[in-house]
């Protein structure tokens, strides 16, 4: 199963020809010399490190073990400087377009009037937050922190698989992966000039400071809003708050008075200017969104709309990373930037279009079908790897509500050498770089989080579905 796409897939280390690519020569030599026992030892040391720092995630719907470690693979994924330079330019362009798109759909709606994107796709989308219509967000920025999922299919071609414009997670893994590699393999860093990633918190802090409301003091008070210790990404929230040097707050720590947000401190209420929120729109203010939310802050939207606090990301960014909207991204990039998209989109069939849906229904065994509102690899059919029953289930779903799905050809995601039970073997990977947008411009630390599908032949890299992570190196020279 899946063998054939392993054979055609581009390998990060050996390309398609079998010769080791230049960026990997030193790593290849080291791997060949390294005794397998040493690799196994280092791997268990890495696991010990992650356990000790308590970097875990919760798997929803899995009662057995609510806290798990994401498997870490000790073999890094390497990108050359020119590869990264091109990727970074594409990411900047894409995130610029995402922000312009958001400003437009909540403002003049030019892209809808121009027919770039169907009106109903925006207006009927539950993520299109009416509260945001005609509201000027501070400094005009909606998506301050974006995570763009990238896959590679050959030496020169990178596709965007998905945009994450709400509350993308995983950046703590990017940083901790580097940390553990530096501890375990100092010799590799002596032979490779790896671009650092540990300035991410500084860049994030600068981004958050830059978007403080104009009414705030020169030294804006920033906090990170978490749903609390039972959230799957709580480790990341406390990690980031710690690195940023800002308070980690829960909804009940904040109060709103006369449209100003305060946090409850032992010295009385202290004004809050910028909230890096890791709570979804629906839960952020029970007076405006879901009234059963106990995680949010009553009155927060009022304060936001009065211009007294900045939310990062803004409310309503979900309309930009919807999978159906995704299929229009090339046109969106062209419309707003006037440039050709640097990063490609995976060709996408919009099942809402009858012709496309007919094709999809005829080719379910060859396509990847995704639920428009699904995330984390749930609600997804990987045709070539699916059994008959799974395909028939999706056929029924597609016939019942075609507008809820898109389909894409199975991509031969690139593979990267990975240390698995049988030794070092190729496994499919993707890449999630994190792009920050502030009043101070766009920044992006080199690399990002590489996710790896640990099962042989598997294309699903999500941690909730048996994926692991790797350190990602961008070589400076």
């Amino acid at each position: 199963m899946g063998k054939e796409d392993c054979m055609v897939a581009f390998d990060e280390m050996t390309g398609t020809g079998g010769d080791v690519r230049q960026a990997y020569t030193a790593l290849d030599r080291w791997l060949k010399e390294a005794p397998p026992e040493m690799l196994a030892l280092r791997r268990s040391q890495a696991e010990l490190f992650f356990r000790r720092i308590g970097i875990t995630f919760a798997v929803y719907g899995d009662e057995e073990s609510t806290e798990r470690l994401i498997p870490f693979d000790i073999i890094p994924r390497v990108l050359t400087k020119p590869e990264w330079t091109k990727l970074e330019a594409g990411l900047r362009q894409r995130v610029t377009a995402l922000n312009m798109f958001l400003a437009d759909v909540y403002g003049p709606k030019e892209c809808i009037k121009a027919g770039i994107i169907p009106a109903d796709l925006v207006y009927r989308n539950a993520c299109y937050q009416l509260e945001m219509v005609d509201f000027q967000v501070p400094h005009g920025i909606y998506c301050h922190i974006a995570g763009i999922d990238i896959v590679r299919v050959d030496a020169d071609t990178f596709y965007v698989l998905e945009d994450n414009a709400r509350t993308p997670s995983g950046v703590s893994y990017m940083m901790e992966n580097r940390e553990v590699m530096l501890r375990l393999f100092p010799e590799l860093f002596a032979t490779h000039r790896v671009a650092p990633v540990d300035n991410y918190p500084d860049q994030l802090l600068a981004t958050l400071r830059s978007v403080a409301p104009r009414s705030s003091s020169a030294d804006p008070n920033i906090c990170l809003l978490t749903p609390g210790q039972y959230n799957s990404a709580f480790y990341e929230h406390s990690f980031l708050a710690d690195k940023l040097g800002v308070e980690l707050v829960e909804g009940s720590d904040l109060l709103v008075k006369d449209d100003v947000v305060y946090m409850r401190t032992t010295q009385g209420p202290k004004r809050v200017d910028v909230i890096y929120r890791r709570i979804d729109d629906d839960f952020i203010d029970p007076l405006v969104f879901r009234s059963d939310s106990v995680l949010g802050v009553p009155g927060l939207i009022g304060a936001y709309k009065a211009g007294n606090v900045t939310l990062a990301n803004a409310v309503g960014t979900g309309v930009a990373d919807d999978k159906a909207v995704y299929s229009y991204m090339p046109e969106i990039v062209r419309f707003f930037t006037g440039e050709e998209p640097i990063l490609k989109n995976v060709p996408t069939f919009r099942c809402r279009e009858p012709e496309a849906n007919a094709y999809v229904l005829d080719n379910l065994d060859k396509l990847v079908v995704k639920e428009v509102n699904g995330s984390g690899g749930y609600g997804m059919l990987v045709g070539p790897h699916a059994n008959k029953a799974q395909i028939e289930t999706f056929r029924r779903k597609l016939k019942a509500s075609p507008e809820g799905f898109i389909a894409q050809p199975t991509l031969a995601l690139s593979t990267c050498p990975t240390f698995v039970a049988s030794g070092v073997a190729p496994r499919h990977v993707d890449l999630r770089p994190y792009v920050l947008s502030g009043a101070n411009g766009i920044s992006c630390v080199p690399g990002g989080l590489t996710r790896v599908a640990l099962k042989e032949g598997s294309l699903v890299v999500n941690s909730s579905q048996g994926g692991g992570t790797k350190d990602t190196w961008v070589l400076d020279a």
Partner: protein, 275 residues
């Protein structure tokens, strides 16, 4: 008709509240069918009351007060002059694209039974308007209306399955059906004055509005089986009850909340008598 409205929502807390914030959608606006002659909102305790507008154009008051608050009430008094326009709603500044109102929401998500009912009820009607009337008649026939206060709203599908609903449920069922038939639909909360024409007129009320090409928005009160007439005072509209609820609140402390609502909407007498 001149309608005098008096609405009091009172709260008693077993454990005094330290702080409360409330969002009040209790203030009607003018449109072609209604004119607000006077309107007053008065909380019985000191606090801050600030008026804004929500995305739907509803007038929203935010009320906040610090405790300890053992009890409080919001009192609303007003006088409205209405005209019967056969349910047609005009003269409102629409702020949200009509397409938005085709969204399914938590409370208006149709299930198979609802969808089947909507299709069957409307299949013999010719025009979109006739279809909506057919739907209203069928729904009025099928689902018994019980008084608000007998229970809380269930959402469209559950109320339909239960076979009876408070006016809020019936509005949601109607909206769910209309949206299933690809009509934009919205929820309206308001008041109705007692009249011989109505079977359900207990002061506060809720109904649906449907957008039809050539007409704009038209009200459908399936609980009463008619389009709103001059007995209906329109206060707030939204995607469903959650957007148009008269009060949404949050509080610190204040365990053991007891809520009491008193509402009346009455014909205040003819124009001549007041001139």
């Amino acid at each position: 008709m001149r309608i005098r409205i008096s609405h009091a929502i009172s709260y008693v807390y077993a454990e005094p509240a330290r702080h409360i914030t409330q969002i009040l959608r209790l203030t009607p606006r003018d449109h072609d069918g209604q004119h607000v002659m006077s309107w007053r909102i008065e909380p019985t305790i000191d606090g801050r009351l600030r008026a804004t507008q929500d995305p739907f154009g509803n007038i929203v008051h935010t009320f906040s007060a610090d405790g300890p608050i053992a009890e409080m009430a919001i009192q609303v008094e007003g006088l409205i002059e209405t005209t019967d326009l056969a349910g047609i709603v005009r003269g409102i500044t629409e702020r949200v694209p009509v397409e938005v109102f085709r969204r399914d929401t938590l409370l208006t998500m149709p299930d198979a039974a609802l969808a089947g009912f909507a299709e069957e009820a409307t299949q013999s009607a010719e025009t979109p308007l006739a279809k909506m009337h057919a739907l209203m008649d069928a729904l009025h026939e099928k689902i018994a209306c019980i008084e608000t206060g007998q229970r809380t709203g269930l959402g469209a599908a559950a109320a339909f399955a239960a076979g009876e609903g408070i006016p809020q449920d019936i509005a949601h069922i109607f909206m769910a059906c209309a949206r299933h038939l690809e009509r934009p639909a919205r929820y309206v909360s308001g008041y109705v004055a007692q009249s011989d024409a109505l079977t359900h007129a207990n002061g506060a009320h809720a109904w649906a509005e449907i957008h039809l090409d050539g007409y704009g928005w038209i009200g459908f009160d399936a609980a009463n089986g008619l389009c709103p007439i001059d007995t209906h005072v329109r206060v707030a509209a939204g995607l469903d009850f959650a957007d148009a609820a008269p009060i949404r609140g949050a509080r610190k402390g204040g365990d053991g909340e007891a809520l009491a609502v008193r509402v009346s909407a009455r014909d205040a007498g003819g124009r001549a008598a007041n001139q």
